[in-house]
Assembly symmetry: none
Amino acid sequence: MKAEIVNIGDELLIGQVVNTNAAWLGEQLSLAGITVIMTVTIPDSRDAILEALAEAEKRSDLVLITGGLGPTKDDVTKLTLCDYFNTKLVFHQASYENVEKRFHARGLKVKETNRRQAEIPESCTPIMNHNGTAPGMWFEKGSTIYVSLPGVPYELQPMVSDFILPRLRESFKLPVILKKTILTQGIGESWIAETISEWEDSLPGNIKLAYLPQPGLVRIRLTVVGEDKEEAVKELENRVEELIALLPDYFFGYDDETLEEIIGRLLNEEGKTLGTAESCTGGYIAHLITSIPGSSAYFKGSVVAYSNEVKEDILKVRKETLIKYGAVSKETVTEMASGIRNHFRTDYSIAVSGIAGPEGGTEEKPVGTTCIAIASPEKVVARRFLFGDHRGRNIRIAALTALNMLRKQLLNHLIT
Amino acid sequence: MKAEIVNIGDELLIGQVVNTNAAWLGEQLSLAGITVIMTVTIPDSRDAILEALAEAEKRSDLVLITGGLGPTKDDVTKLTLCDYFNTKLVFHQASYENVEKRFHARGLKVKETNRRQAEIPESCTPIMNHNGTAPGMWFEKGSTIYVSLPGVPYELQPMVSDFILPRLRESFKLPVILKKTILTQGIGESWIAETISEWEDSLPGNIKLAYLPQPGLVRIRLTVVGEDKEEAVKELENRVEELIALLPDYFFGYDDETLEEIIGRLLNEEGKTLGTAESCTGGYIAHLITSIPGSSAYFKGSVVAYSNEVKEDILKVRKETLIKYGAVSKETVTEMASGIRNHFRTDYSIAVSGIAGPEGGTEEKPVGTTCIAIASPEKVVARRFLFGDHRGRNIRIAALTALNMLRKQLLNHLIT
């Protein structure tokens, strides 16, 4: 089954509103086994709507139309649908009662403009809108199904989940489509592509791979299309296992998981605590950790040491170390990590010092040079990296790299 | 001039990524006086791309194509463009040198897959990508201009602003469209609307007002459309002044300015230093401040005190204060602000303590309760606020409110 999404609204075209409906609908349809072949955004204009509907009929079995159903004059969708489906507006009692109920609940009287929202094209099946006044409309023309929905996300979403998808499942045998995303840290897209190239080439046609890179992370999504759910689940599981086995040092989680969540879970499980000492990341690691609800159970705090003075006074980095090796060195971050661990009396600590840029680079230590240390009850591990030349991304990459180093330490500790 | 945006990418259709490029491009083109008549999202498929390009040619003068230019096998855009424009890939030395430079800067060798990114269709004008390895491509066919761009927003945006829009302006007479955005903090959208309602109603038709609310901020954008540039500049300046005069306590800056930038500038001008003591904001204020290049000149660091232990040990908050008034109180943040200012020997300091949620609220101090103190050489000012019930937004709003309080202190100090 092929679907197309038609979003109507000037506000989308001029970029006043980001089109989140397209993404949400795309995900829901994909998960139901319906292939979204296209999304189109057009203005609130009769001609544009008529053309988009006619084009869609040529290539799609299902057309989801959003927007343009408001009570104001610039919303022309409903009248245009009447033209396209050669029908006329009729008063719909149940929709009117819905409008009335919503207005009365707020102590308001129904206005003429709102009364018009209860008029629907005669040939459609109305879809009740429990979160607004504009009903949805289901049309069939030839072998194509058209559904018109309001553009407000919290009105549209329950109409899709509670009415449209169940009705489609009843009427059509939809294929099973499953997906899983593998998260990696510490390896670039092209290095992954090279590492898994042979395996990727050997994948059968019903399995798709997509790379979704972000600063400091690459997400790899596997999609399986099948007919039998159990078989598809098994096939996806096997492929995911194979893929992880090819990237054992870089894989850290699935789907929407974050490193800060995973670390929080591991620390909670162990009943251990954490502190951070940050120079170039400037508090960003602490921010990621404390963005997780309940992080106060394991996170004691951080010292952002943006000056050498603070590194010496509070973190007890020795002056000799700073002079001999510099603030950005494995020696300094090792002392920072020990310093914060002792000072805050935590089990683990992270310390980072680097040159985020754009200024401050030298030949020996160019912009992007970053040292990270992880202190655990047993030892301190320090590493030196060279990231890129963009300040914001360097901060992000340094933070994710540090969190991943800590994750590995925590896992090692659990194993041994 | 009519434009169309063609976004290529399976990840957009299945909703794994929200299409923010369409909104950003729509806004830039609209502001340049170019009408966006349609945006289309299609899969990484040769046939779909060919069809979309042919359809676009029928109705648009300008077609902006995004995505599908990565080094991996699922990216088919470049080869398909060769077919459509009846040309072939050729090696482009300048693009290769860009790839090489980016790899060498990170101490990496260029791989075959990356080398291929420097191959471009022979008939196009290449557009340098200063933030990535895939060059942009400018084609002309009949009276239609096609531009293919990488899908990564921070790569695409400067290519549009620095190359494509200037080149379009050179070739076409576009109307004069000017905009200026006024930034406010500490007042909600509906309060602003009420305050400026009369003035807003009196605006002439060629001036548009848009509210762009974000957690903790409301941006108000004024757009003037005209034919004469000088006149439009003057009109915009006058309206901006009028608007600011209506919101004197809340206005803090223009356009893309941030509070952290403004504070950095003020501290630099005064030659003064800053430290922060953060509880509920968890390092986010320090992160904002240190996201500004050169912040090490005025920012000495932060103590993220996520436990009372750290508040007492390092910030020297008295145990009696914590017991009598609680960690979230004006008394505690006052001592935190003094503590960090003394400890780090800075001129100014910010201290924040609050209940970010979702847990931890009480009847007396519900989720969202936040206390903020600013210490300056003369005094400490503390205030108590009640924000919302969403953890991430509470952190953001608390940080912006604190930065704005510091900004006011710095300005007062400059005046007196």
